[in-house]
Symmetry: C3
Subunit: 330 residues, 3 copies
């Protein structure tokens, strides 16, 4: 490129090459497609649903039993319109993707279908609230640090994550998977908790701390299950990638199971029986019968004395007195 | 529900049922309560304090020694007013919660008390800055990747987390726990580092990388402690939940201790003595004497040869040549 | 302090003491320095680049092959101006920091240099897109849960993280490290994935789930490498801190390696040979030859029966029937 060229002609030249690269790498562009769900709208919808489902917690104005009726109606209408638009986009987008551009553009049934699906989703709100009230109860009962229900709703990322999951999972079941996934990743981004919208989670679910938790697409979780931070409910090696698509790859966790922090449970045939407890950092690829406890035999630890620093001034250096294979910065 | 009904009548019907569900599930609503702290305000306060405590780093305009005085005064007045309002809300809210609605509404002492607590908090800012300057020094000294102090303040989530913790912990000590917790969860959300506002952390604390760190409510941490990512300072099994409320459930870490990544230290009676080093991924439920090093006896590894792919083209397939129990997608 | 003083005089007094503390703790202020990169601008630049690199995915309006040309041109001009300003700030800031205030203020060469570096960076955009198209392909091929490329671009934090890393790494190579680091920490904050801008990552890189991944400054990663959540590519103990600055402290991962979740690989001399597989939760500080598989010998597990609850009503209590050392809340 002519390095003496003026900035603007340099930029013009660069634009050409960038636009050229758009056609070279189709995976990275989404051009000439009339329909695409919007991440920003999906987030708006999620935040509207948060206010509908937890009235009075996240609103600017104070709500009373008298005012909440109009408030809920107003929010519900907004949600309906945004959701209808996004579901319509998603349905037409799917058609364009699977049957080639143009198909979606002419699909008037898509609009009728979108209208139907939108209501089917909104119809589920009371049931979603019933489930969430049991989740909030479980979080309060399960954590000595919880002072009251409000703190749980306000401050628990686990409640955030299960709220968004229960919403995304309904959209998943109603066959708008991309929209569901966008909403789930919004939650992952907010909470560090990664629950695939396909995962089935029954009532009274408690996720404590939550950071680093991964729950895969085909996981099934029963009632009154407690899961702590860093737990993975994942798949065994899926070398072969797409050939595994759709198969049951993730574990089944029955009612009343508790899984402590850092435990890793893998495989579509792995079943943790009702009432069992999985200890911290346990690594499991086999099933566990009902009412059993699995804990790690603590690996022996090497405990060695380090020279005590000569004087107080050296105190900050103390660790460096230890033999050097002792610690790892990881 | 009448599927032939018009959308608007369907929505009207749905609003009825949702409002009805509000009364069915009291844990999820916060109606008819005049007072509630606001998450948005709490975040505003935190960001104002960030600018007061780290002047010149996060401001739009350039600050000089001459202009900073007015700037700090302006920010401090804004903080005072927002904080007073939120503390007032919190105090009246607590009264309503503990002694029934109405009590808080008439509590004029709450306003005097809020004024007092607000100043008690603001009074602590210089001390918070002193502590943070030692934390920044510790982060710089401890990390070879740190090029200078500014990078530490600008780019280290660990500094972000300890800044917000030192603020939240003061509010915790001043008995506005819900506000403290809301601010802590804002930090958890931003950094992936989960420090309960009740945790006591002495000066020159260094948190490297930080993602996944969990530090529980009754943890006590001494001077010059270094903690790496994924470390948990947690409680032993708290089956029984709320009965454990208030008891010392989390470990005590003495001065000059270093805890490497992924280490898990549990229990209210667990004390890590001064100057000791805990190696990566160590799992500890017992105390360690002063100036000792604990490291994991590395679990033996199974190392097996995989068939080398026939040709370059197959290179991408290499992993799939391995016997299938070899790896785990988790 | 006079507790009877008026609020405003109390605040005035407090401002004095806070401003005084500014001079007491130089690490925490950035006053009297004319030049400093801005975190907000750095984020704006990143979001503009996202739209340039993934056209049509994150824009409000619909883009077509006809309109994208002007759109890209517009975005590129905005990016150029913001980036030039920030690089200029960074260069003058560096001079002020390394050679004392004033040096940077007079540095007119800085502006010429900034212009040059800005174009050198923008020139890299087509190559960055080429690399990212291979990353997106790798993510799709590697994950059975991925329905199509769009879902990968839209919903995979791993794609987010590698996009931002490839941008930050170019800035790092062009010698604007603080700006690069600010952009990397924006990604860490968004995704929970911590990749130092100095790390070298070759094409077709796949990061699944991602939360908790840490990749250090001097890490080198080859082609077609797959890394799952919670993996650390870190340094051995760096007691001594700053003395290690600049040395190779992090591992080298050759082509076609797969590293499963929670694996920890440490040390600047540790080389994982081409085509090898590292199993979940493996802890490695030694090299592995090409085409080998390393997996953890599963630590024996203690499996004990817990008393089955007398009746259904007690079912929720089941875990508490277990002997109490069985589980850990971590």
């Amino acid at each position: 490129m002519d390095t003496n060229a003026s900035p603007s002609s340099k930029l013009a030249d660069l634009v050409e090459r960038i636009v050229h690269s758009y056609h070279a790498h189709p995976q990275l562009h989404h051009l000439d497609s009339t329909f695409l769900p919007s991440r920003d709208r999906a987030i708006e919808i999620t935040e509207l649903l948060r206010k509908i489902i937890f009235p009075g917690f996240f609103d600017e104005q104070r709500l009373t039993s008298d005012t909440v009726h109009h408030h809920a109606g107003d929010l519900l209408h907004q949600t309906h319109d945004l959701l209808y638009e996004q579901i319509r986009q998603a349905l037409r987008y799917d058609l364009n993707r699977t049957q080639g551009n143009g198909k979606g553009d002419d699909c008037d049934d898509c609009d009728t279908q979108a209208q139907k699906v939108t209501f089917q989703f909104l119809e589920r709100i009371p049931e979603i609230r019933r489930m969430l009230s049991l989740d909030v109860q479980a979080a309060f009962d399960g954590d000595p640090a919880a002072a009251n229900y409000d703190e749980t709703v306000f401050c628990y990322p686990g409640i955030d994550a299960i709220f968004i999951h229960r919403v995304a999972h309904e959209l998943w079941k109603l066959d708008v998977p991309l929209l569901a996934r966008i909403i789930s990743e919004y939650s992952h981004n907010q909470t560090g908790i990664d629950i695939h919208p396909g995962a089935t989670i029954d009532e009274s679910f408690f996720l404590d701390h939550g950071t680093g938790v991964v729950i895969g697409e085909t996981t099934e979780i029963g009632k009154r299950v407690k899961v702590y931070q860093g737990v993975t409910l994942g798949a065994l090696s899926t070398k072969g990638g797409q050939v595994w698509r759709g198969r049951k790859r993730h574990p089944t966790i029955e009612d009343d199971v508790t899984i402590y922090g850092g435990a890793i449970i893998l495989g579509g045939n792995t079943i943790i029986g009702q009432g069992s407890t999985i200890g911290g950092s346990v690594f499991l690829t086999q099933s566990v019968p009902a009412y059993h406890t699995v804990s790690m035999k603590l690996s022996e630890l090497k405990i060695t004395a380090a020279r005590k620093p000569k004087n107080k001034a050296k105190a900050t250096e103390a660790p460096s007195q230890a033999n050097d294979d002792s610690g790892f910065e990881i």
